[in-house]
């Protein structure tokens, strides 16, 4: 199951790419800007602010009712029939997640073949965690390779070694996040420990496959990890570039639309100076930090 494909993506690898967002992720990074990627199932997103109170969705199911003349969406009553999505003229409802066959997905991706090849780009599998659906990934990758499409894998690396091995023959590049080296910090940030992640990164590195590493810089959460992450990366030999991604809270609204609570409402966005300092610290360790 995927929840989106996004063409003209320039931040997920070389050239102009189309990114496939897979649904479902074993991590729960507190700053995640794709909360719709957490669950492995379809979800209804509802944007109350967009609702025009036309009440067209009311009566179609038990989840949409009127209270004091105002439409209310009862998420716990939602059976994901999607009737509300179809009738809402204001587009206050949306569905996140859909099943698609590898063939249909590839057909869609190849619509941008001209752009991918002309720009040195390709397709990036992202998410969510794409390698949680590695067999599907392999099927898609095989078909893409028949057309000579470059493939990048944007993974948390919190997956079994077998999953990595399965996708390796098709991966032209890996994009890894390193959120923290200290395992407790990592646990606090993501809900999982990082041993498997770091081991997998070292494994891919040892195979000489080009990789890009991103460090999501989140004040008060993992901003103390700069030197440790830098030191870890400095020992790797296949890293083409490192990008420091400044935390932003743009996704807060998405949490609301999913009926979730935004986990870190009080965390500030980092200043340009903070990012510059972190970048300099990493560069001092011999790490090739490039602007995001």
């Amino acid at each position: 199951m995927i929840f989106a494909t996004k063409p003209f993506e320039i931040h997920d690898g070389d050239g102009i790419r189309t990114t496939v967002f897979f649904k479902g992720c074993p991590l729960r990074c507190k700053w995640c800007h794709n909360p719709e990627s957490f669950a492995f199932k379809k979800q209804i997103m509802y944007d109350e602010g967009v609702c025009k109170n036309c009440h067209k969705c009311v009566g179609l199911c038990e989840a949409n009712i009127v209270v004091d003349g105002k439409h209310v969406f009862l998420r716990d009553k939602c059976v994901r029939c999607e009737k509300c999505v179809a009738v809402c003229p204001a587009e206050a409802f949306d569905v996140s997640g859909y099943d698609i066959t590898p063939e249909a997905l590839v057909e869609e991706l190849l619509r941008d073949e001209l752009i991918m090849k002309g720009s040195g780009g390709g397709v990036t599998f992202s998410g969510g965690e794409p390698l949680m659906q590695v067999d599907f990934c392999v099927k898609v990758a095989k078909l893409l390779k028949e057309h000579g499409i470059n493939i990048a894998i944007d993974t948390s690396a919190f997956v079994a070694r077998e999953a990595i091995d399965k996708i390796l023959p098709f991966a032209d590049m890996f994009l890894f996040d390193i959120k923290a080296i200290d395992e407790d910090v990592h646990f606090a940030c993501t809900g999982v420990y990082n041993k498997q992640i770091l081991e997998n990164i070292k494994y891919v590195d040892s195979l000489g496959i080009p990789m890009e590493i991103r460090y999501p810089y989140v004040p008060t959460m993992n901003d103390g990890e700069v030197e440790k992450i830098g030191a870890f990366i400095a020992k790797l030999k296949s890293v083409k570039a490192v990008r420091i991604l400044p935390y932003h809270s743009y996704a807060e609204h998405k949490y609301t639309c999913l009926g979730m609570t935004y986990p870190i409402p009080d965390v500030p966005t980092p200043t340009k100076e903070e990012i510059a300092t972190a970048s300099e610290k990493m560069k001092a360790l011999g790490v090739n930090v490039v602007p995001y």
Partner: protein, 733 residues
Amino acid sequence: MKSFTQNRPMIENEYELAKFDPATGLDVEILRQKLQEIQDTPTDEPRALVFAKAYAYLLDNLQLEINEHTPFSVKFNVGIDYSYFATNSILETVMSRPQRTKVLREKMPEDLKKAELFRKVGVGYFFTDFWHTVPNWTNVIKYGFAGILENTKASKQKWLDSGKIDQDQINFFDSVIICYEAILRLLARVYDYSLKFDVPAFSAAIKNLTTKAPATLYEVMLISALYLNFEEFGRERGRTLGPIDRLYLPYYKNDLANGVSMEEIEDLFRYYFMHFTAAKRYAEQPFTICGCDKDGNDLSNELSLKLLEIYDELNIYDPKIQVRYHKNLDNKIFRQALKMIRGGHSSICIINDAAVFAGYERIGIPVEDAQNYVVLGCYEPIIMGEEEGEIAPVRLNTVKCIEFALNGGKDLITGDQVGFESTTDITSFEQFFELFLEQVDYCTEWSLDFLREQSVYNTMINPAPIYSSTFDACIEKGRDVHEYPLKYNNLSIKHLGLATVVDSLMAIKKYVFEKKEITLAELTEALKNDWRGYENLQTRIIKDTEKYGNNLPGPDALMTRITKHWADRYCGRKLKRGGVLRLGLDSVYHCVAFGEMTAASPNGRNCGTPFSKNMCATEGQDRGGITALMQSLLKVDAADFVDATIFDFIMHPSAVEGDKGLNDFESLMKIFFAGGGFAAQGNIVSGEMLKDAQAHPEKYSTLQVRVCGWNEYFVKLSKVKQDLFIKQCEVSG
């Protein structure tokens, strides 16, 4: 003289703040009355001479102002409202426009009535297009005003000596002579008056131009600026400064060789650009740079890049810049243009030589001539010196033709029979599709008939001695440009609303004939009632993702069937008056104005709202993003539409940031052009930024957005137009 930076504030608003000296001429109201008197006095005198005498009177009596803060010091008082984008000199408002109505009422009254009906229901506006001209700048610069006058006199004498001259030729020659003598008298007045001010360089240059061709870069710029004024005072509008990197290069080099410093030259360009910025007429004179010759050799030069860099530093939005792209273009120049677009310079349009050459070839014009094209107005190529292009005498609203096809040829709002009377007993989509094409053909053919008839009277409406005399062919043959003496005398017709039409046809195909959710008669009723009672269906149709602009086979195939039909039928059609028909799919703002008069559309659009612009998807429907839109657009054979198949892109600033962003932007543009794309223009803005600008205009006074062939300050757009941009950004940006 103070520095440019010190002078700039005194130039930026010089048109609004102009204080014309009453001692230098008559008040504009008195001039207006005199022209009115000329217009109203019955006379047997040929219109060419009536015009020339009125023009000379205007120039002999208009008031002057000298601004000491710029080398382009002089301004003339002819009643032009510089807050309005169009030409509106008093000669135009008092003489030319009423004359058109008078002539057409007398000569083709029934046609004029029907043209007015077309306009009333919003299917088409008709003009006599004096508003898009490309003077032969080579001659203006080579001969100067005095040289043009001498050449005219010499040609007249030659014809007199031959004994074969006719009265029309005599009238033409005399009208040119009267007008240019008036121009030289005016320059002499300007010179005398300028002596009262501290503008010695200006005085000396003006003095030279009263007797000679320009000799320095400054004089070339000055005569160009003056020429545009003088053409406009007579009603035409020169809508390009020409290929100025190439035109000005010899003078630039000569100045440098004669000891003029680079700083002085750069300053001259700053003042020159500010001269056009100050006029604040956003759709006015662009200039063209770069390009290749017929063999693909790069024609850019050191001035090409310099002009871009100076412009960039000024952060202005006028004049517009049209960069002729080709695969051998110096990449430094190309990247500089892209960097400027990324930085907010939406005044740049990039146009593809290969597509333009192919387009000219399609209408029978060889690359040997096509290589000399410049870009006129928005994006229309015109071969300077050889081609008179009436590029916008009519624009047709094809969304209206969906109404006609549904409603037996009648307008859905007014009930007027405007299209041809057709059946409403339609049993298949193919039948409806063909009927739609027939309704468009009916409107197109009628428009062409109207324009053919109207063009007979062009010289009775507005003779063009100033503009005509820049062409060798006019001077040699003794003919006004509107008598079509040039090598190419082409005419354009533009079909508007393509995406809305395609999406509407898709909706009819799917919901009427495939799913059978509604009959055609019910749909017609729903549209008449602006979807009232059918809101759920309207919502489903709007949400249906099978729309043009998403690189989807269904809608794109419909789109190419339509465009191919138009191309096969009209592209390159020979015109009886000489020349051929050119096609374009650019809409300018008519998608808003026509939209107001257009009933609800089957694609879910509400009555009175804008329809799709240029080659864009219907607003909010390009869900597949910029690459999908681009590829949908590339399915049109650009060579069939030499006037324009424009790629309007909107990108979020984050999509082009950094070196990688610029590289990818470059790749995207090169892919587009390699795929045969015609021209690209766009905006690097975000929806959030535009919403904030709408709420807090004071913070965004310099935010520019590309509208059509021009860009404007976003905060000065109407709310409807602002909302269109915001909607586009939210989907595409």
